[in-house]
């Protein structure tokens, strides 16, 4: 089984995803932005960075790249796609996950450790998580999660909010000005998934907390969840996604 990491011109955190996949013991391959060839991968990571320089708006040019049309087809057939940081921005611009990422409320780049908590432990991206808060880096200027109130209500009802920023002790963050929420995301949302549950994006970098020597390896809970879900999907003969599979099934 192989997991692909897309390299757009300007991707820079692809090395972190490749490193984390290597730590997970899985065969990682680079998917080049100009090629629609998916190399038979069982899952795809859209990594962090500044795809195409993030000119105009983060992620907006990347959505038109040849590789993204293949990624869309791959997702439609039930393949697992995880967008991290810039990858999340690309997914949101592509309409593969709901919502938008606005400039950080501080109007400054935010590069530091934050705490996030998986909001459900039965998703393909979190089923190996312990449920405790994870200490992982953020590194972005446009990470303020935004959707209108009705959409936010619907996301919560449907269980599509996968990660929230929390305090270091795991307690919830309610005020968007609270520094535990590094970008002012609405309802402290750090990551969401699509309605069929096979495409997810988050702003923090779990793949950078992949080894104890770097501080902790808690981020591997997310990476290993993805790898295991992809292996199971492959083993089951790549079943098509069930509509609204995640429907409030907590």
């Amino acid at each position: 089984m192989k997991v692909g990491v897309v390299t757009f011109p300007g991707s820079n955190s692809d090395v972190d995803s490749l490193n984390a996949l290597t730590v997970a013991g899985v065969d990682a391959v680079t998917l080049w932005h100009e090629s629609p060839d998916m190399h038979g991968v069982s899952a795809v990571i859209l990594p962090g960075g500044f795809a195409y320089g993030d000119y105009i708006r983060a992620g907006v040019i990347a959505r038109f790249s040849p590789v993204m049309s293949s990624v869309k087809d791959f997702a439609a057939t039930g393949g697992f796609v995880l967008g991290i940081c810039n990858g999340f921005q690309v997914l949101a611009e592509s309409g593969l996950v709901p919502g938008a990422l606005l400039r950080n409320r501080s109007l400054r780049f935010a590069g530091r450790l934050v705490s996030i908590k998986p909001q459900r432990l039965d998703s393909p991206f979190t089923h190996l998580a312990t449920g405790a808060a994870l200490r992982v880096p953020v590194a972005h200027g446009e990470g303020c999660y935004y959707a209108d109130e009705a959409t936010l209500d619907e996301l919560e009802r449907a269980g599509q909010v996968l990660f929230r920023y929390v305090h270091e002790d795991g307690s919830p963050v309610t005020d968007p000005e609270d520094t535990a929420n590094p970008n002012g995301s609405l309802r402290a949302i750090a990551g969401v998934c699509n309605s069929t549950g096979n495409v997810a994006g988050l702003m923090p970098h779990p793949e950078r907390m992949s080894e104890g020597v770097l501080g902790n390896d808690g981020g591997m809970q997310i990476v290993r969840s993805l790898v295991e879900s992809a292996a199971a999907w492959e083993k089951a003969g790549r079943p098509a996604p069930k509509a609204a599979k995640l429907e409030a099934g907590r």
Binding site: N12, V15, Y52, N86, F109, G111, G141
Partner: protein, 788 residues
């Protein structure tokens, strides 16, 4: 003689003196034309030629074990074993950042990164050493905001973590901020490549961004002249950076080097294509025939001289065998990078610039015209050198001789001082408080190598695939340098290497950025001369080679000259990352030890600055042999597994060092400090060659013995634990202050660690006036590419 607009002779308008023009005539054997003069003006600028500093820099110790490249190359390269090597270099971008803070700082990062990957190394870290004037001044705040955004905007986008650096405020930088950026790269030894153009007949290619009118005269206009107040007319001399283009350039260049498709490669920095061609040719003993028509332009109508000296960013010059050109082209095109075949390597040693194209035989097409012809050596290795006059200032203060009694100068307000209040004031001061507000605007974790994030001493990066780690720091002492530049340089080298040694790592070499004033002023040149002498002595004593560096002169503005600032960057190697020691205390119950002893002299200290002392006292002296012993001692002690934490005593003295060990761990300490002379000197003096460590109590005796073997003083101060930092002052020197306050018990410093942490945490934001919430909507945000 060619004349510029307005009747001034052209050479003078370009910054070339009459004397220099005569030397140019001698070297060419004729009158130079306009294009040639423009090329000479940038290549003979102080920035490119080191014409004032070269004779001094030759005296630095530049040889060391495992060095693969050094002074004269784009960056120093030192082997670290396992077939790997580390490349590192520091460089200034002071004047561009003063004119246009965002782009000046951004292109400073871009330039130093190119120096690293030009050697075949992948950039893995950036450190930024920034210096400003009064933090409460609106213009300073504008500069701080723009420069920090610029460093982050470039480094974050290009995917190189910013892992450390410095932020210093000093009135002398009010009109002339310093932006010194250090970059570190990692390479396999086989990847090493030099900036040369070997092999006559080989193709010379230019790839990367197109050539425009931006940055014309950056080296000569901005970097090599005394600075007038924020002159907007100089803004066109500032380059504009595109980190996205640089990211592509890194990937393409490293692929070209990895696949051995190029035989030499050089980045286009100061002096643009003039500098890249002449240096590459001179180094290989060849010449280059350059076809101006082949150079891709950003705009029409550029004159030949503009093309030759443009400093448009994100460009590289490479030499390849003709049969490899198609493959080189394919790599660049795959990365979306424009590439052009612009010249041929020749045998005549000249940079010959033509219009009209190069024919199939490698010579100019029939009908082509020669625009300029200059011997490459005349622009680089044989460039003009000036003997400058050095004169010490009329009135100087010397460091007190070691062994003088430890009494502070009468001017110091130590009688009656409350040491806890002084400590809190120091920790909350603009220079000693947490730099979090700055480094949280940087990506410090990309590439998955960062072990020690910014904020707690030296940066630590693991080396993937090995047990090794690299430890890096920058330090520069301007407060002592302004009093005694020789001593200031020694202290800078000592502190920078000490910060690496206290982690257990061995310093591999130093890179230096010498920020000084106008070398045509004898006193400023004397400062530079003294600093080089001090740096050389310190490097010899500490057995660290100088692997490269950069000189930034003319750091003056109408309000005066900057305090001389020798910025020292060090990279150290830790063989086993499992042995890494950090500054914070680790375990309650551990013993706290002080190694080394204080020396008299408070001038230049944070305490003296806080107390508003007029500089009548002297700075502390340094005994380099003792410094070397201290660093050897701590590496040995760490290697033997005797040490739990180690922190050096520097800014703010022993009290601040102890407070940092406490704040960063959340652990208090109960200590007793013997004071014979002055409590101010013992607590807040910044005498060098001292460190604070903690250890299991059973190891204290072994450490004391080891210290004695290295000829060092040592004493157990007390024990880690509790929630307060308590330092009881004992001995004859302690009683004065207590008596004056009417107290009969011995004096003590006793303060809660949480309170210290609070003061330290908020000091910088308060000084800069950015504390009111994270949002700073009033800040200028006209710059692109800082978000993502």
């Amino acid at each position: 003689m060619t004349t510029a607009q307005g009747g001034e002779p052209l050479h003078r308008a370009l910054g070339i003196t009459d004397f220099e023009l005569d030397v140019i005539r001698q070297k060419l054997g004729r009158e130079p034309n306009h294009t040639e003069l423009a090329v000479f003006s940038v290549m003979w600028s102080e920035h490119c030629s080191y014409k004032s500093s070269k004779p001094l820099l030759k005296t630095l110790p530049t040889r060391g074990n495992g060095m693969m490249a050094g002074v004269g190359d784009n960056a120093g390269v030192v082997r670290i074993g396992d077939g790997l090597a580390v490349a590192f270099k520091i460089e200034s971008h002071n004047h561009p950042s003063a004119v246009e803070p965002y782009q000046g700082a951004a292109t400073g990062v871009g330039g130093i990164l190119r120096d690293i990957f030009t050697m075949g190394a992948r950039p893995i870290a950036v450190l930024d050493a920034l210096r400003f004037g009064d933090p409460t001044d609106p213009h300073t705040r504008h500069l701080v905001d723009g420069i920090v955004r610029g460093v982050g905007g470039y480094g974050n986008c290009v995917g190189v973590p910013t892992v450390g650096g410095e932020l210093v405020f000093d009135p002398s930088y009010q009109g002339n901020p310093l932006v010194n950026v250090m970059a570190i790269g990692l390479l396999e030894e086989r990847m090493l490549i030099l900036a040369e153009a070997p092999g006559p007949g080989n193709y010379v290619v230019l790839f990367g961004s197109t050539t425009g009118r931006d940055g014309i005269g950056g080296a000569s206009v901005l970097a090599s002249a005394t600075f007038q107040d924020q002159d907007p007319s100089k803004r066109p001399a500032v380059q504009v950076g595109d980190p996205f283009a640089e990211k592509l350039l890194i990937e393409a260049s490293l692929e070209l080097i990895d696949r051995r498709l190029v035989v030499g490669i050089q980045d286009l920095g100061a002096g643009g294509i003039s500098c890249a061609t002449s240096e590459s040719a001179d180094k290989a003993g060849t010449g280059i025939l350059l076809d101006l028509d082949a150079i891709p332009r950003r705009e029409p109508g550029m004159a030949p001289w503009e093309v030759m000296i443009s400093e448009s960013q994100e460009r590289m010059l490479a030499t390849c065998l003709p049969e490899n050109y198609a493959a080189v082209r394919e790599v660049c095109e795959r990365w979306g990078i424009p590439i052009a075949l612009v010249g041929r390597v020749t045998t005549d040693g000249d940079i010959a610039i033509i219009e009209g194209g190069i024919g199939p035989d490698g010579g100019p097409n029939p009908g082509a015209t020669e625009i300029a012809r200059i011997p490459a050596a005349a622009l680089t290795s044989d460039a003009i050198v000036h003997k400058r006059v050095a004169t010490p200032p009329a009135r100087r203060r010397a460091a007190p001789a070691p062994g003088l009694p430890l009494t502070a100068h009468d001017g110091l307000p130590e009688r009656g001082m409350d040491p806890a209040s002084v400590l809190a004031a120091l920790l909350g001061s603009a220079n000693l408080s947490s730099r979090r507000w700055v480094y949280e605007q940087y990506d410090s974790s990309v590439q998955s190598n960062t072990v020690e994030w910014p904020g707690h001493g030296a940066a630590v990066l693991r080396v993937k695939g090995t047990k090794k780690a690299l430890v890096a720091t920058t330090d520069g002492n301007q407060t002592v340098s302004v009093i005694d530049p020789f001593l200031g340089a020694q202290l800078s080298v000592a502190e920078a290497t000490r910060n690496v040694s206290i982690t257990g790592a061995r310093p591999l070499g130093i890179t230096n950025c010498l920020n000084y004033g106008n070398p045509e002023r004898p006193e400023a040149f004397w400062q530079l001369q003294e600093a080089v002498r001090g740096m050389a002595e310190a490097c010899l004593a500490l057995s660290v080679p100088v692997t490269g560096g950069n000189v930034s002169l003319y750091n003056e503005y109408p309000g005066g000259a900057i305090s001389p600032t020798p910025e020292i960057g060090v990279v150290g190697l830790l063989d086993d990352i499992a042995t890494l020691i950090r500054p914070p205390f680790t375990t309650a119950g551990d013993s706290v030890m002080l190694i080394g002893k204080s020396v008299p002299g408070m001038a230049g200290s944070s305490y003296a600055n806080l107390a508003g002392i007029s500089a009548e006292d002297s700075p502390p002296s340094i005994d380099l042999a003792r410094e070397a012993a201290l660093q050897s001692f701590i590496r040995e002690a760490i290697g033997r597994g005797l040490v739990a934490s180690a922190q050096d005593v520097s800014g703010g003295g022993l009290a601040v060092a102890l407070a940092e060990c406490c704040m960063w761990s959340g652990l208090g300490a109960k200590l007793r400090l013997g004071v014979l002379g002055s409590p101010a000197i013992e607590l807040f003096g910044e005498g060098p060659s001292r460190l604070v460590l903690s250890c299991r109590p059973r190891h204290a005796a072994a450490l004391e013995l080891l210290a004695r073997q290295f000829g060092l003083d040592s004493c157990v101060l007390g024990t880690v634990g509790g929630e307060r930092l308590r330092i009881e002052l004992t001995g004859s020197g302690a009683t004065g202050a207590a008596e004056e306050r009417g107290s009969r018990v011995a004096d003590a410093l006793d303060v809660s660690v949480v309170d210290l942490r609070h003061v330290w945490d908020h000091g910088l934001a308060r000084a800069l006036g950015v504390e009111a919430g994270p949002a700073d909507a009033g800040a200028p945000a006209a710059s692109s590419n800082e978000g993502k």
